[in-house]
């Protein structure tokens, strides 16, 4: 028994969100603690090195702060928040901001051991070396392919007591198409066939 397209969307969202994180930037104002969006990322590893794959301009902004937050999705759709001591992080960055859309703008943030250990207990890290090896092989194309751009989205609240940050979070998948794909398929909604 297969799945309906709605179930496919839900189930795949759950699978993919397990690798996705959102960065939080903390601040305090007269209304109390608050946090705001600072970009998204994917949990990855290279050998025994664990961290986050993201855009370089995201890391560039985060390194201005002594502490940043990350949010991840736990079991049964629950969200988990962690704080990262930026002094304990290191990064590999390929970034030329003057090139804008021509890049490069990609980076790896190595997580402090305490964060990496906590996340390894509950989450999977994509293996970058395995990904690279598989990218050279033919894709396992079947009947349809869905393109999804994944991010964590959230609103901030500033009316909490100091020290308490309560952020409603949602995870969003954005369906879309690539240069060599066109819209088609059941319901003509978010499915793509090769051109």
């Amino acid at each position: 028994m297969g799945l309906t397209d709605e179930q496919v969307a839900d189930d795949t969202s759950r699978e993919v969100s397990n690798f996705t994180i959102g960065f939080l930037r903390f601040a305090t104002d007269k209304l109390g603690a608050n946090a705001e969006s600072a970009g998204s990322g994917t949990l990855v590893k290279v050998g025994s090195i664990f961290g986050v794959l993201t855009a370089a301009h995201v890391i560039s902004e985060l390194t201005r702060h002594s502490s940043v937050g990350i949010v991840v999705f736990g079991g049964e759709g629950k969200l988990q928040k962690q704080e990262i001591d930026m002094k304990e992080t290191e990064a590999v960055i390929f970034y030329k901001p003057e090139n804008k859309e021509r890049g490069p703008d990609i980076a790896f943030l190595r997580l402090p051991e305490v964060n990496a250990s906590n996340l390894r207990a509950t989450h999977l890290f994509l293996d970058l070396e395995e990904l690279r090896a598989r990218s050279d092989s033919d894709p396992p194309f079947l009947d349809w392919m869905v393109g999804r751009c994944w991010r964590v989205d959230y609103r901030t609240r500033t009316n909490n007591p100091p020290g308490r940050i309560d952020i409603p979070l949602t995870s969003k998948a954005i369906p879309g198409a690539f240069g060599r794909w066109k819209v088609g398929g059941p319901s003509n909604r978010e499915w793509f066939r090769p051109l």
């Binding site: 297969g2 990322g41 390929f94 890049g103």
Partner: protein, 91 residues
Amino acid sequence: MGHRTENGFDLFDFAPNVPRPPSTYGGVSGGAIWHLYIEQLGENDYAVRGKRFIGVPFYELYDDKNALYLVCHGPQSYGQLSDAILSKWAS
């Protein structure tokens, strides 16, 4: 636009297909683009047979129809990043 190489890094474009597009995709930066491979079992019956991470969005631009699309780094780019990570920390 399809895959291309700029400044030694591979890039591709991702065109979101949403009923009510936002004014910006801010917050998407650094996120992930996935391919999800679907097998059709019946008219309204599908199964997910695989998924593959393929890139990292980092910039948004308007196309000639005034719709936003995302510029993304592709597999060769995170391959280069992987080499740099190993070079820096592997010992």
